[in-house]
């Protein structure tokens, strides 16, 4: 027998009363009581919740905005484009066939054929080398298919993958991908996302501090009560619980306010964004909060509140001892 076990055997244990129904009921009661305490000081509660709300709304709103911008890249004409130079030996008929095959792919939004004759005509008009071309006894220009990837292939990576596939076509001599714009946009969104991540971290810390400080004050106010319940045999878990619930409520209220703010903010941006999209010949609706984003905010807020309260309670509750 180990020393510890021997000591346990010598020391009679305590009976721990754990009726699960009663326990659950107590939890519900404590949660409601905590909400009631917050409701007793509506102004203070609202102010704390509003600060939390703004701290959550800021990164959430920015994140949604960036998400929207990324979606936009897919729907903008000229997001990315692939030029396919067809084999010179192909007849016009065959070239049209190839275009049709490519246009039918679901990673292709649009495929436009520029026949050899058209290409020659355009070249003549644009380059001013018309006479020089006349010296040649045949048309040196190949037919070209201009491909615009669809939404699912709009990222740089997917566009490149599409280009690789098309390179495998026997009828296609050369594939040229224009990814400049897409690459740039992707780099920008990635930078913004990183920025938002940093911002989220900082503002989460701010929420922790706000909730922590609020709970700390609450603990100080209820110093006397805590002493008394400790005297009559309350466990630390029991004493902690109401404060943790308060933290959760603050977080939830903050999350609700954040949703309100983000919805209102995106609503205000709807008009100018549509006008902007119009300039790029693209109909576009700004996505309001998705269910995933809603869920994240509604669980993240209370979780932050809980954590903030936990930190405060851990630090300040053990200092209160009855005498």
């Amino acid at each position: 027998m180990t020393g510890k076990a021997r000591r346990k055997a010598k020391q009679p244990g305590f009976r721990r009363n754990r009726n699960p129904v009663t326990w659950l009921l107590r939890h519900a009661q404590m949660a409601l009581a905590a909400l009631g305490r917050l409701a007793q000081q509506p102004l203070g509660t609202l102010m704390t919740a509003a600060v939390i709300g703004i701290a959550i709304a800021l990164p959430s709103g920015l994140y949604l905005l960036v998400n929207n911008v990324r979606d936009l890249t897919g729907s903008w004409d000229g997001g990315s484009s692939i030029s396919l130079f067809l084999n010179q030996s192909l007849s016009d008929q065959q070239a049209r066939g190839v275009r049709e095959v490519i246009a039918r792919r679901d990673d292709v939004a649009e495929a436009r054929l520029i026949s050899r004759q058209q290409a020659l005509k355009e070249f003549r008009q644009r380059s001013g080398f018309g006479e020089a071309l006349d010296l040649l006894d045949h048309n040196p220009l190949p037919a070209v298919i201009l491909v615009r990837p669809s939404r699912i292939a709009s990222s740089a990576l997917a566009t490149e993958r599409l280009a690789k596939t098309l390179e495998g076509f026997r009828e296609i001599d050369l594939v040229r991908v224009d990814l400049q714009w897409v690459r740039r946009l992707e780099a920008i969104t990635r930078t913004l996302e990183r920025g938002i991540l940093v911002l989220s971290g900082l503002l989460s810390a701010a929420v922790l501090l706000i909730v922590g400080n609020t709970i700390r004050l609450e603990i100080q106010n209820r110093h006397n009560e805590i002493e008394v319940v400790k005297l009559v045999g309350a466990t630390d878990a029991f004493i902690r619980r109401p404060f943790l619930y308060e933290g959760v409520w603050y977080g939830l209220l903050g999350a609700l306010i954040a949703i309100l703010l983000v919805t209102a903010g995106l609503g205000l941006m709807q008009d100018p964004v549509q006008r902007l999209a119009g300039l790029y010949q693209s109909g576009f609706d700004l996505d309001i909060l998705t269910s995933g984003a809603l869920l994240t905010i509604l669980t993240g807020g209370p979780l932050l509140g809980l954590l903030g309260a936990w930190l405060a309670v851990g630090r300040h509750l053990s200092r209160i001892q009855p005498e």
Binding site: R7, K10, Q11, P12, F14, R16, N17, R18, N19, V21, T22, W23, L25, R26, N224, E225, E227, V228, V229, K230, L231, V232, G233, A234, T235, D236, F238, Q321, P322, E323
Partner: protein, 223 residues
């Protein structure tokens, strides 16, 4: 039920509240602790309720060595030791009923059982009808009885009282002591600290007299 083996308590200030005291209280025994101010009466009771821990010697309560009790078991220990204070230590924001129910709520007892027990406790201290009142609206004697009801509502085997009659007139003091005698008759081990030597001597119970942290005289000590 309660045993002190050469117990000393030195406070952080360096002062000795208790300087080597040994005593034994059998289950169901009742004793008074007397002595001048600063003799160590409160210190003795605090060591039993684990409001303080002994710095030397061993304290045993209800078969457990308190020196070896882990911090997380302290709440469970306190549920077995009812404590009554001169300043009542009631929660002023709550009703008499809620104050008395507190030890039961804390212990996770069911709603109906709480109702039943609180009513029984109210009856014992003669406060039925006051359960919806708030402590501030009660007299000093009534507040003290609320404090007593709270201490006994969970039927702890040990009841401690630190100058429970300190602020009460002789008439009320006697009533409170009567109440304690009744509890003791149903088997509760009681230890009561008081200045009121005259009142205590009339009751004919064991008296432990302290001076400067030591036991000067104990009428119940084995010869």
């Amino acid at each position: 039920m309660i045993r002190f083996d050469n117990v000393a308590k030195r406070y952080a200030t360096g002062r000795e509240g208790l300087a080597g005291a040994s005593l034994h209280l059998a289950p169901g025994e009742m004793a008074f602790v007397t002595g001048h101010s600063g003799a160590g009466k409160s210190t003795l009771l605090k060591l039993i309720g684990l409001l303080e821990r002994a710095t030397r010697g061993q304290v045993w309560v209800n078969g457990r060595n308190l020196n070896k009790l882990r911090q997380r078991d302290v709440p469970y220990h306190r549920r077995e030791v009812g404590m009554i204070f001169q300043d009542h230590r009631l929660l002023h924001g709550r009703t008499v009923f809620d104050n008395i129910a507190l030890p039961l709520v804390v212990a996770g007892m069911g709603h109906q059982e709480i109702q039943r027990r609180v009513r029984a406790a109210l009856d014992k201290v003669d406060l039925l009808g006051k359960e919806r009142s708030h402590p501030v609206s009660l007299s000093g004697g009534e507040q003290q009885r609320v404090g007593i009801a709270r201490a006994l509502v969970s039927k702890p085997p040990v009841l401690l009282a630190d100058e429970p009659t300190g602020n009460l007139d002789p008439e009320l003091s006697r009533e409170i002591m009567e109440l304690f005698l009744q509890f003791n008759q149903v088997g509760v081990t009681m230890l009561i600290a008081t200045h009121d030597v005259a009142l205590v001597e009339r009751l004919g119970k064991r008296i432990i007299q302290l001076r400067e942290g030591r036991i000067l005289h104990d009428t119940g000590a084995p010869a």
